[in-house]
Amino acid sequence: MPETRDLSYAEAVNAALARALDERPETLLFGEDVALPGGVFGVTKGLRRRFGERVFDTPISESAIIGGAVGAAMFGRRPIVEIMWADFFLVALDQVVNQAANVRYVSRGAVTAPITIRTQQGSAPGACAQHSQSLEAVFAHVPGLRVAMPATHQDAYDLLLAAVWCDDPVIVIENRTLYHTGRRPVGVNGGIQPAEGALIRRPGADVTLLTWGAMLHAALEAAELAAGRGIDAEVIDARWIRPLDLDTVLASVERTGRLVVAHEAHTTGGVGGEVLAAVAESGVRLRSAPLRVGAPPVRMPAAPALARAVVPNALTIADALIRSAAGGSVGAAAEGAADVPRR
């Protein structure tokens, strides 16, 4: 029965996991510290007690976790695994890219790998270079994978369930800075959504601002700052990075004629560049140069004074909105223009 519950983002993830484990007996949940300890962020608390051996702790062996999920999925299980930090994916990328993504294609559907890999990423004060990267573009580059980035409590619930129900390998990238940000009403036990689709979070007429993940909150703040200058930004939350809902983005840009894409990841080779390319290819008429806001091409420093200079925030996004609305030459959109560290 659909109902509304007051949940934190972490509790919303937990509720989705509980529902999946409850309704789909073929699901398994495993990863480092997820079972008895209930997760290093407390996200998986209580699930071991409730679902027993289908929820278990693993050694610190990411290749075995993801590869094990792929193999079990080929034989009818529906594993949900956790990679504690997106940065740790990199020790097991083979199992994601060369293995999970190929299973269905090469066998022409004879075998599939319906796995869900939950992780979390992004910068937080004091986090080191190996614990703060935003890696969605790495996964988004790979055909065969789906990539979700829930920004809200509701999406923490909905996108995860969509991922588990989906028959493809799905990576769900959460954000640890959102886990414990207080409770909000979350609709639970409703229908399972398709594993795709963006949402307009704030309608606006002047500039399209596309974003995803935790950056949504900075983007909404930036939209308010820009509103103070008479600029009405339309904020779109991509929610799914692959497949990317370009229809929603293009329809918005057709109305506004202006585009800013903001993400925490590096701009170079990032998903923002992909969006700008798609908009350019679509032939939509732009009234000003499209802009990207993202991290400059540099490693992530630990000291807060340094990290602040590279991680985008509401002010850097608002600045881009203002430049976008003011026009801006095409040259200004070249790499680095929106990259210059501020403050």
């Binding site: 693993t58 004091g126 340094l306």
Partner: protein
């Protein structure tokens, strides 16, 4: 491993000083983290100091290379990095060993033979093997030491590094600090058979277990492995049995530890143990004076580092490429 030999009082006092420096440093870091002067993940090594003090006593700081983990403050200090420069790094100050870029969990001090913490579990092992590989070509006689936790023994990179080192006779020491837990999970539930050192024979290298709360025992085991490695006879695996007497991270309530375990660990921790021995032969006032001197050194280093300016954001893009 190694035959224990009687220690001179001077050596024992050196070990005590080295371990106290680490302990007082960590206690001050805990305080700074709690008050918010240090932010982010901090992994203290309280209880494991004998491993760092003992191992570094067997290494040659002018040429050997140490590769610790995120739990690396003890290693960094034992390698000789001044507490002031380490505090400054943790505090995100311009004067930190890496100007604030590394932070608590990923700092490096190559000028002291400390070639970098690693926040990716097990990742230091193949790099240490590589440092040893270079030594087989450069005539330096360098030995590399990779330190990592019990949990890291289940990481693919560690397996690959051990076999690679064994098959090429690389002068590298794999030192497992077995503190019985990886984060919140006991190692006993993650391996069949808790004798981690026994894996050495499968790779064709010597392996052994040592009391990791006894700095002299650790030094002797490492010294023996160093001698072998420098002599061109290849790597070794040492499992140092120890306990962390603090949480995995600051704020870890340690609910996963069975009742009584922490109390037992505290009764056997290396500093309390060495002090008890030394009190039998050395005047208590002398031991107290040593302790007070180190405490003052740490307090002064912390105060100076706190007074330094934050890391300079105008430098943030520097040093990415040659």
């Amino acid at each position: 491993m190694g035959t224990p030999m009687p220690e001179t009082a001077a050596t024992q006092l050196d070990f005590l000083e080295s371990m106290l420096r680490i302990r007082f440093f960590e206690e001050e870091v805990g305080r700074l983290r709690a008050e918010g002067s240090i932010v982010g993940s901090v992994h203290l090594c309280n209880g494991q100091e004998a491993v760092h003090a003992g191992a570094c006593a067997a290494l040659d700081p002018s040429r050997d290379a140490v590769f610790p983990t995120y739990r690396g403050h003890g290693w960094t200090l034992a390698c000789g990095v001044p507490p002031y420069a380490l505090f400054a790094e943790l505090l995100g100050r311009q004067t930190g060993v890496n100007g604030g870029r590394g932070g608590s969990a990923y700092l490096t001090a190559p000028e002291y033979g400390m070639y970098g913490e690693n926040s990716i579990v097990g990742a230091g092992a193949p790099i240490a093997a590589g440092a040893a590989l270079a030594a087989t070509f450069d005539g330096s006689g360098r030995v590399a030491l990779a330190a990592f936790g019990d949990g890291a023994m289940n990481q693919g990179a560690v397996h690959e590094a051990m076999n690679f080192a064994a098959v090429r006779d690389l002068p590298v020491i794999f030192l497992v600090e077995n503190n019985h837990y990886s984060e919140l999970t006991p190692i006993a539930s993650m391996v069949r058979g808790d004798r981690l050192f026994a894996r050495a024979s499968a790779y064709g290298m010597p392996g052994g277990r040592v009391d990791g709360n006894d700095p002299a025992a650790v030094r002797d085991a490492v010294a023996q492995a160093v001698e072998r490695a420098r002599g061109g006879h290849g790597p070794a695996l040492i499992e140092a049995m120890t306990q962390r007497i603090v949480g995995h991270y600051i704020g870890d309530a340690q609910h996963y530890r069975p009742p009584g375990e922490l109390e037992a660990a505290l009764a056997d921790e290396p500093i309390a143990r060495l002090l008890a021995t030394l009190r039998e032969t050395i005047p208590h006032a002398e031991l107290d004076a040593l302790s007070e001197r180190v405490r003052a050194e740490i307090a002064d280093a912390s105060a100076r580092a706190q007074a330094d300016p934050p890391a300079d954001p105008s430098t943030v893009l520097e040093h990415l490429y040659a």
